[in-house]
Amino acid sequence: MKSWLTTTDHKRIGLLYFWTAFFFFLVGGLEALIIRAQLAQPEGVGVSAEMYNQLFTMHGTTMVFLALMPLSAAFFNFIIPLQIGARDVAFPRLNAFSYWVFLLGGLFMNASFIAGPLFGAGRLSVAPDAGWFGYANLTSRQFSPGPNVDFWLLGLQILGIASLAAGFNFVVTILNMRAPGLRMLRLPPFTWMTLITQFLVITAFPVITIALVLLMFDRFFGTHFFLPAGGGDPILWQHLFWMFGHPEVYILILPAMGIVSEVLPTFSRKPLFGYTVVVYSGVVIAFLGWSVWAHHMFAAGMGPIADSVFAGATMLIAIPTGVKIFNWIGTLWGGQIRFTTAMLFAVGFIAMFIIGGLSGVSHASAPSDLQQTDTYYVVAHIHYVLFGGTIMGLFAGMYYWWPKMTGRLLSETLGKWHFWLTMLGMNLAFFPMHLSGLLGMPRRIYTYSRELGVADYNLVSTIGAFVIGVATLVFLYNLVRTGRRPVNAPNDPWGGATLEWAIPSPPPVYNFTVIPKVESRLPLWQTERHAPMTPLPARPLAPIHVPGGSWWPMITAGGLPVMAIGALAHLLPVVLVGVAVVIVGIYRWAYEPFEM
C-alpha cells in the first residue's frame, strides 16, 4: 500500500492513471445512461430539469477531463519510457504529483453530487450545471447563484495543473531521454503523437486557466470580465474557452491516432505506410488546430469575414486528417492482417472516425452549421469523433498493451464480443442523432414534445447507449478476470517492432537491463537494411539505481483541493492552510535526499 502511495515508477503511475480514469469513464457512462433513459421517450420524467442539466454537464466534463485525457495519460506513462528506451520519465516525482492532482481534482468535482446539504441547497446534488463549456454569462453569480459552477471552475483549475505538469514532463522526457540512436524520425508514431499532444497541452491549458481565473474573479470578487452589465463581454469567454477547447479536441484524438499507427503495422506485419507523412500531418493538425477555434461560434454572429476565415481554416484540417486515413489504409494494403481485438478496434477507429470527420466538414461550412450547431447533429458528430475515434483507439491500445502492462493477455473471445457490441451500440446510439438533430431537436434539453416526431430516433439512441453499457461491462469483466490469472504474456505477444516489446511483460522496475542502441525505426523487425536488435541480457550487468518513493508529491497535491474547498466555502483560513501545505510540500520535496 505504502509503496503505491509513494511510488514514482512510471509503470505504477500508469496503472493508477488507468484504473482511476476507467472508474471515471464508468461514472461518465452511467451519467450518459441516465440521460438516455430520460430521453427514451418524449416528456420524460425520470429526472428533474435541474438534475438533467447537472448530468449532461458532468457527462461532458467527466469524459473529457477525467476519462479520455487520463486514459491517454495512462499509456503515456506506461508506454512512452518503454518506447524510447528509458528507465523512467524525466521527473518521476512530478509525474506522481500529476496523478494525485488528477485524482483529487476528479474527486473534488464529483463530490458536488453529494455536497448539497453543506450549502443548504435543499437538495443532495449541486453538481456543475452550465454545460461542459460553461458559457458566460449563464455562469455568473446572478444566473447561477449556487456552488455548482464554483465546483466546476475550481475543479478544472486543479485538473489543469495535473495536465500542465504532465505536459512539461513528457515533452522533456521525449526530447531528452531517448535511447542512443533513437533519432526524432525514428520515434514510434505513438511517441510522436504524444509529443505533439503535450505541446498542445502546454500551450492550450494556460488559456483555459486564464479564462477560469477571470470567471473566478467575476464570481468571487465581483469583477465584470464576462458581464455585459458591467462593461464585460460574454463572447470573450467563448473565444478563450474555444482557443483552449479546439486544441483540446486534438489533445483527445492525437494519442488515439498514435495508438492506431502502432497497432495497424504490427497486425499487418508491414511498416507504417508513409511514416514521415503521418508524423508531419500530426504536426500540421496541431498547428491548424490552433487557428480554428471560432468555428464553434458561427451562430454568435461574428460577421462574414471572421466566418470565412475560420470556415476555410477548419476545412484545411480535413487534408492532413485524410492523409492519415489514406496512409493507414496503405499500411493494411498488401499486409498480412491478423484480426486480434486490438486490430478490430484500430480498423473500427478508421471506419467510424471518417463519419465524424465528414460531418465535421458540414460543420466547417459556416452557413450549413447554422442549422446544425447546438442540435443533436453536433452531438452525433462529437461522439463519432470522440467515441468512434478516441475511445475506439484507446480500446485498441488497451488490448494491445494490457499484456505489457500486467503480464496478462486479455481474452480474445470476450474482446470480440466487446468490439462487436461496441460497434453495434455506438452506431445505434449516435447515428440516429444526426437525424433527430436535423429534424429539429436541440441538444441539452431534458424534455421534448412528441409532436417533434423524433421519439423513435431517441428510443433507438437509448437502446444503443445501453448496448454500449453492456459492451463496457464485458470489457470490465475481461480486465478484472485477468487479475486472478497467472502471468501468461511473453515479451512480445504480437510481434511488435518497438522497444517496449524487447523487455519482459510486465517489465521489471528498471525496464531495460541495458539501455538499447537503436538503429532503425523498427528495432525488433528485420528490414531491408537492418537486422533485428540483439536481445537484451536477461539480467542487469551492473546494479541499476532506481529512485525510491516519496510522500511529498501526494502531500503537495493534497493542498490544492484544500485551497479549493476554502474558496468554495468562502473561508480564507482554509485557503491559507491549503497554500501552506503546497508550499511546505514543495519545499520538502525540493530538499528531499536523493536516496531513501
Partner: protein
C-alpha cells in the same frame, strides 16, 4: 458500412413526419440557401465515405493473413500516392469552400431597403418581439407577412439564447449588450416551429416559439388587432371581475396590459387571448392550461419566475376568462 445503410433504411421506413421543426423543409430564401449548401456537402461526404470505406473493406478482405504465406513486402511509402491523396481532398474542398464563402456573404443578415423590422429579445425562458415601425409588442408567437423581407435584430435581457426556426433559416445567438441580426424572406404561409438552441439554464428545453407566416391581409388584420387597445370587459361581467383581480393582485408587478399595468418582467398580456400558446409556446392557450399555469408555473416549467398563485377557484375562473377575452 452495411450496418449504417441498413440503419438509414430502417429510419426512413420506420419514422415519418410530420416534423414541424425539421431543417429539410426550407421556407425562406435564407433556409433554402443553407439547404442547398448542406446537400452539396452531403453528397461530397457520401462519395468520400463510400470511397474510403470501400478501400478499407477491400484491404481487410483481401489481405487477411494466411498460414505459411511469405512475409509481406516492407513498403514504407509512396511519394506520388502521398501527393495524390493530399491534393484530392484539397480539390474536393474547393468545391465546398467556394459555395460556403458565397453563402456566408449572402446570408450575412442584411435585409434590403423597405424590410419589415423586428426586434427579438431573449428572456429566461421566453421570447419578446417588438415591431418598432408598427408599435407592436408581443411574445413567443411571431407574425410575419409572406414574401416580405424581414430584418430581425436580436439581443438578450439575461443570458445567451439562440433564435432558431429551422424552416426560416439558421440559428443566431442573442447576447446581452450586443445586437445580432438575421434577414430572410418567407416564401410560403404556415405555422413554423422553433426553439432556443443555446443552453440558457434550467428551462432551456421549454423555451419554444412559433412563427406565423401570413398573407398580407391576414397579417394586416393581426397588426390592427394588436395595435388596438386591449378589450375592456362589459360592466358586471365575469371578465370585469377578472380585470379587478388582475389589477389588485401580483400580476401587475411583472406584466403589461396596456392601460392597466406597465411592468416588463414577464410577457406583455395586452392581447394574450389572441395567441395560440402560452408559457413560451409550451402549452396551448386553453382555459385548463391557463388555470394550471397560473396556479403553479414553476411546477410546469422549472425555474419559471412566476410564483404559484393562490386564487380561489372562482377568482381564477374570472381571471382566466379576462385573459382569454384580451384578443
Amino acid at each position: 458500412m452495411p450496418l449504417v445503410l441498413a440503419l438509414v433504411l430502417l429510419f426512413l421506413t420506420a419514422c415519418s413526419g410530420p416534423f414541424p421543426q425539421t431543417v429539410f423543409a426550407p421556407k425562406s430564401d435564407f433556409a433554402v440557401e443553407l439547404d442547398g449548401l448542406f446537400w452539396n456537402i452531403f453528397w461530397w461526404a457520401v462519395a468520400v465515405f463510400l470511397i474510403v470505406e470501400t478501400l478499407l473493406v477491400i484491404a481487410i478482405a483481401r489481405y487477411r493473413a494466411r498460414p505459411g504465406a511469405p512475409p509481406p513486402k516492407p513498403v514504407h511509402g509512396h511519394t506520388l500516392l502521398e501527393i495524390g491523396w493530399t491534393l484530392a481532398p484539397a480539390l474536393i474542398l474547393v468545391f465546398i469552400a467556394v459555395p460556403t464563402m458565397r453563402s456566408i456573404f449572402a446570408t450575412a443578415g442584411h435585409a434590403p431597403e423597405g424590410a419589415l423590422h423586428v426586434e427579438v429579445i431573449g428572456h429566461q425562458w421566453w421570447w419578446e418581439y417588438r415591431y418598432p415601425t408598427l408599435g407592436i409588442s408581443t411574445s413567443n408567437e411571431l407574425h410575419l407577412p409572406v414574401g416580405t423581407p424581414v430584418q430581425v435584430e436580436m439581443t438578450s435581457a439575461d443570458v445567451i439564447h439562440s433564435f432558431w426556426v429551422p424552416a426560416l433559416g439558421g440559428k443566431r445567438d442573442l447576447t446581452q449588450g450586443r445586437h445580432s441580426r438575421i434577414a430572410f424572406r418567407a416564401d410560403s404561409t404556415g405555422e413554423y416551429w422553433g426553439q432556443c438552441a443555446e443552453f440558457c439554464g434550467t428551462s432551456h428545453a421549454n423555451m419554444r416559439l412559433r412563427v406565423m407566416v401570413e398573407s398580407d391581409s391576414v397579417f394586416q388584420r393581426w397588426v390592427d388587432q394588436q395595435r388596438a387597445a386591449p378589450a375592456s370587459p362589459a360592466k358586471g361581467s365575469r371578465e370585469e371581475k377578472g380585470q379587478q383581480i388582475y389589477r389588485r393582485s401580483a400580476c401587475i408587478g411583472c406584466h403589461t396590459i396596456a392601460g392597466l399595468s406597465a411592468a416588463k418582467v414577464g410577457p406583455d398580456l395586452s392581447h394574450v387571448g389572441s395567441r395560440g400558446t402560452i408559457a413560451g409556446a409550451l402549452f396551448p392557450n386553453t382555459t385548463d392550461a391557463l388555470h394550471h399555469w397560473i396556479q403553479n408555473a414553476p411546477g410546469l416549467k422549472p425555474g419559471a419566475l412566476m410564483p404559484p398563485q393562490n386564487f380561489s377557484a372562482e377568482d381564477l375562473d374570472a381571471l382566466v376568462a379576462y385573459l382569454q377575452s384580451l384578443k
